[in-house]
Amino acid sequence: MADGHRVFELTAPPDDVDTVHRMLGLAWPDGVEVGALDRMAFETALVELAANIIHHGDTGSGVRCTLEFAITSTALRATLRDSGPEVHVDWDAVTMPGEEAESGRGLALIRALVGQAEYERVGGTNVWTIIRPVSS
């Protein structure tokens, strides 16, 4: 597919975050060269987001998620659409928990890794978008 556009689908279970890592390996278009930090930050944010969906989106009958990547030499973008219940996310209010916490860092880490993180509920689907502009 041209212009760095790739779409994958997962159903968890049986898929899990290891599936997401495998998808990431296939999502990167040939010829797109970005700095190691940009790629690392984007991929970490993507796995965090997918893990969050897999963890919270499955209310007993599994969760389906479509992962759409638009990766170019100027911006790394992913949109995830999942079948989980509606969630309430206030990105501006997300804070990093203290050092003793054993959970709750996912959304704060995503925010720290990408320039833009969005959530909206569209017709019964959760739509998450993360964008990391590529450093020039």
Partner: protein, 111 residues
């Protein structure tokens, strides 16, 4: 994730991890650390030389292990961390509490 525990004396145990420390493998590391502390080794090093990815679930397991080790009078330190692991530690403000050493075998050489 593959975990191998190496006991190096003086209550020091090096846990060599291999793979991705994420939501899938976090519970496994948590249990391995708990078992190692319960068996009498509270000065732990988790060797990240063959770990190519860490996420917040993995961090949770490391913090759990750190607390268990400290409760037993020890500590939990990291060795051979990759740039990705360093980035995650830095952004979550955990780079001081989960201290990183260059060489797992000398992580407790100075106490």
């Amino acid at each position: 994730m593959k975990l191998t525990v190496e006991h190096s004396g003086n209550g020091v145990a090096i846990i060599h991890a291999e793979g991705k420390l994420n939501m899938v493998s976090a519970a496994q590391l948590r249990e391995e650390v708990a078992a190692t502390v319960a068996a009498g080794s509270s000065r732990l090093v988790v060797d990240f030389a063959r770990v190519d990815f860490l996420d917040s679930s993995g961090l949770g397991a490391l913090i759990s292990g750190l607390k268990a080790a400290r409760q037993a009078g020890g500590d939990l330190r990291l060795a051979n961390t990759s740039d990705q692991v360093k980035l995650v530690l830095q952004l979550t403000n955990l780079e001081k509490v989960l201290s990183t050493v260059d060489d797992a075998s000398t992580a407790y050489a100075n106490g």
